[in-house]
């Protein structure tokens, strides 16, 4: 589904990703872990198409297509979804309006008719229940005045409704208390499917107690230094990141 080959990215004149390789297949959950400043968020932003990230080398192939020339909205319509580390507050734009506009943009791209108003509301209510969100969310402005946990839940709600093929979760666990973490993880787990890939970007192993990854990668200094299964995350939790950098076996 996603093949990243020797990706090099500069941000503000500084090289942040220095030849990153990663392959993600449909149905898999990957966790990308690493110390602060290793390039985790840069990777997520570049995949979603944010401005200001200069790709200086390598390639990203998504569903056998070159992803990099696509505008952010084209990526979204093709099934790429980024759950933001810092979801943006947008006063004056209604939460449900955004959900509906996003869903309809994706449906239109697929040649499907606009969603029926009743069906849509039923769908939103159903997913809100999953995310344990209050009815009042329906009429609030996007993320405006939301607590940290509410914002993250809202991101997963959007994901549940837009049903992406490739979901990138950027530090979704940061700032969550244990209850919110459980709700968010439940939401993500309910979205695991054979035709969907999920990439979790996280600093801590904690999230992986709830969302069990198939593959764990250590990103440091702009490269994936080590890959393994979920036991790697536990080892990182125990030993920190430094040993990976010093491990001669790391490639």
């Amino acid at each position: 589904m996603l093949v990243i080959d020797n990706l090099k990215v500069r941000v503000g004149g500084k090289e942040v990703l220095k030849g990153l390789n990663l392959t993600v297949n449909a149905g898999e959950v990957h966790a990308i872990m690493g110390p602060n400043g290793s390039g985790k968020s840069t990777l997520a932003q570049v995949l979603a198409g944010r401005d200001g990230y200069e790709v200086t080398g390598g390639s990203v192939t998504y569903q056998s297509r070159d992803l990099l020339p696509l505008a952010p909205e084209e990526r979204a319509r093709e099934g790429v979804f980024l759950a933001f580390q810092y979801p943006v507050e947008i006063p004056g734009v209604n939460n449900v309006y955004l959900l509906k506009a996003g869903l309809n943009a994706i449906r239109k791209h697929r040649g499907e008719p606009e969603v029926d108003a009743f069906e849509f509301l039923a769908l939103v209510r159903d997913k809100m229940k999953l995310m344990q969100m209050d009815e009042s969310f329906l009429n609030r402005a996007v993320n405006e005045g939301f607590s940290g946990g509410e914002k993250k839940r809202n991101e997963i709600l959007q994901m549940a409704i837009l049903e992406p093929k490739l979901a990138l979760l950027d530090e979704t666990d940061s700032g969550l208390d244990i209850d919110a973490l459980r709700i968010v993880s439940n939401g993500v787990n309910s979205l695991r499917r054979a035709d969907r890939a999920i990439v979790l970007v996280t600093h801590y192993q904690r999230l992986l107690d709830y969302i069990e990854p198939d593959h764990v990668h250590v990103l440091s200094g702009g490269r994936i230094l080590k890959s393994g299964d979920k036991s790697l995350a536990l080892e990182l939790e125990k030993r920190g990141y430094d040993w990976v950098k010093e491990d001669p076996a790391a490639a």
């Binding site: 505008a71 952010p72 909205e73 933001f84 943006v88 943009a105």
Partner: protein, 447 residues
């Protein structure tokens, strides 16, 4: 103030002198001399100042050069049918003016509710010019500026609205001013005068709607006064959507007595050059004023909002909350000034102006001013001017929304907070639709 300058303005002023001399008045009526004298005095003051120039602080960012070169004639009264005039339906008691003249045939025919008196200035002038002269000379409480003087010299119609003590109007008063050109080649001007007197403890909502088309060039030079007696509450909604060939000059004066409250929402969308000037005098303690508005110049429009709030008494409050959105080569100006007089303690004054620039060629000049001569006051002001937030834009696009759709959504969201406080339902709906249409165009780069 600019002084008389015979070298840069004489042709323009001569034109107005000629027009004034050619005008015929009903000289037979009792007191006609007094009205004529009042008009002559206005004209003299206008000649003494001339049109304001950019050397005048209050006009620093707005040039009147184009306006000065026009030879406006006094508007005629072409026949008007109902379908010629656009208005917002179900807005309340409707009063229609066309080319500055009140047209009872298009206005709400229903009898006026108790406590409300609406007078046509033209009719009153016809019958008792002496009374009108006396009334008008007492109705201005601040020194009139050049355009108010021009209005005073040429105004021959308008509306006097009187709300009796203790009256609460059940529906808004909806005043529509419309332009109708008889010949496209003739530039016309109108000087409607509106005087609102709200009695003690009275409450009312007034909508003034300036509209027109692009058939001919015109100058609307409106002068509006609000006089609020003790405890009166007046809400004013102003909709300026003149045609693209219209110069729109709106001068208003608001005076508030003890515990009176004035709320206004000003929407400047139309005209080639638009100026909205509001002078507020918080004359007695407990008076409060809450002004808000949106100005949205696009194409080559120039829209200027000028406010001056005079805290003349202790325990008075003022609030200003304005937003500007400039697209194309549009230019917006916000100049809000708060003056706190030496004896006026315990004052609360807030001022906010937030602006959005949608193109590299758009411009907004924001100038908040505070002049405080008392020490026990709470004053705050803030002004920001920026572009659409790129992170918000990216967020919306990452959810599948196209760039234009995302831009339109953010622009409308920015305008929305100004619309959401409008309580008159049909006006709010009308504004939402208008603003949406305008900014969908701006966002796609058409305007």
């Amino acid at each position: 103030m600019s002084s008389v300058s015979p070298f840069n303005q004489p042709p323009a002023l001569d034109h107005y002198r000629t027009l004034f001399a050619e005008r015929t008045t009903n000289v037979d009526a009792v007191g006609a001399d007094a009205l004529t004298a009042l008009r002559e005095a206005s004209l003299d003051r206008f000649f003494a100042s001339g049109f304001p120039t950019q050397r005048d602080e209050a006009w620093k960012y707005t040039s009147l050069r184009r306006l000065e070169t026009r030879r406006f004639t006094l508007a005629d009264a072409p026949p008007v049918a109902t379908e010629d005039v656009r208005w917002i339906p179900d807005c309340g008691y409707r009063i229609v003016l066309v080319n500055g003249r009140m047209l009872p045939t298009l206005s709400t025919p229903a009898p006026q509710p108790p406590g409300l008196t609406i007078l046509s200035l033209a009719q009153w002038m016809q019958h008792s010019p002496g009374e009108v002269a006396e009334f008008l000379s007492q109705s201005a409480f601040a020194a009139p500026g050049p355009f108010e003087n021009l209005n005073g010299a040429f105004s021959d119609d308008g509306i006097v609205i009187d709300i009796a003590d203790g009256t609460t109007l059940d529906r808004p008063l909806y005043i529509v001013h419309h332009w109708r050109a008889s010949k496209p080649s003739v530039s016309q001007m109108a000087h409607p005068r509106i005087i609102v007197r709200a009695g003690r403890q009275s409450q009312c909502s007034i909508v003034t709607h300036y509209t027109g088309d692009d058939a001919a060039e015109s100058l609307t030079n409106a002068w509006v006064s609000f006089d609020l007696a003790a405890g009166a509450h007046v809400e004013h909604l102003r909709l300026q959507e003149e045609g693209s060939r219209t110069f729109h000059i709106y001068s208003s004066q608001v005076r508030l007595a003890r515990d009176a409250r004035f709320t206004s929402h000003d929407f400047a969308l139309g005209a080639s050059l638009g100026r909205s000037s509001t002078l507020v005098q918080l004359a007695e303690s407990g008076a409060s004023v809450n002004l808000s508005g949106l100005f949205a110049p696009t194409a080559t429009q120039h829209l200027d909002t000028h406010i001056r709030i005079d805290h003349a008494a202790a325990h008075t409050q003022s609030q200003q909350d304005y937003r500007g959105i400039a697209a194309g080569r549009g230019r917006g100006v916000f100049n809000g000034k708060v003056i706190v007089q030496p004896h006026a303690q315990k004052i609360d004054a807030k001022q906010s102006n937030r602006n959005l620039l949608l193109s590299a060629t758009a411009e907004i000049d924001s100038r908040p001013e505070l002049e405080i001569y008392a020490d026990d006051v709470k004053c705050s002001h803030g002004a920001t001017t920026g572009q659409l937030d790129p992170v918000s834009l990216f967020y919306l696009r990452s959810r599948g929304l196209g760039e234009e759709q995302a831009r339109a959504l953010l622009i409308r969201a920015f305008a929305h907070s100004m619309l959401s406080t409008v309580k008159v339902g049909p006006v709010r709906t009308w504004l939402e639709e208008r603003v949406q249409r305008r900014f969908d165009l701006s966002a796609s780069g058409i305007s």
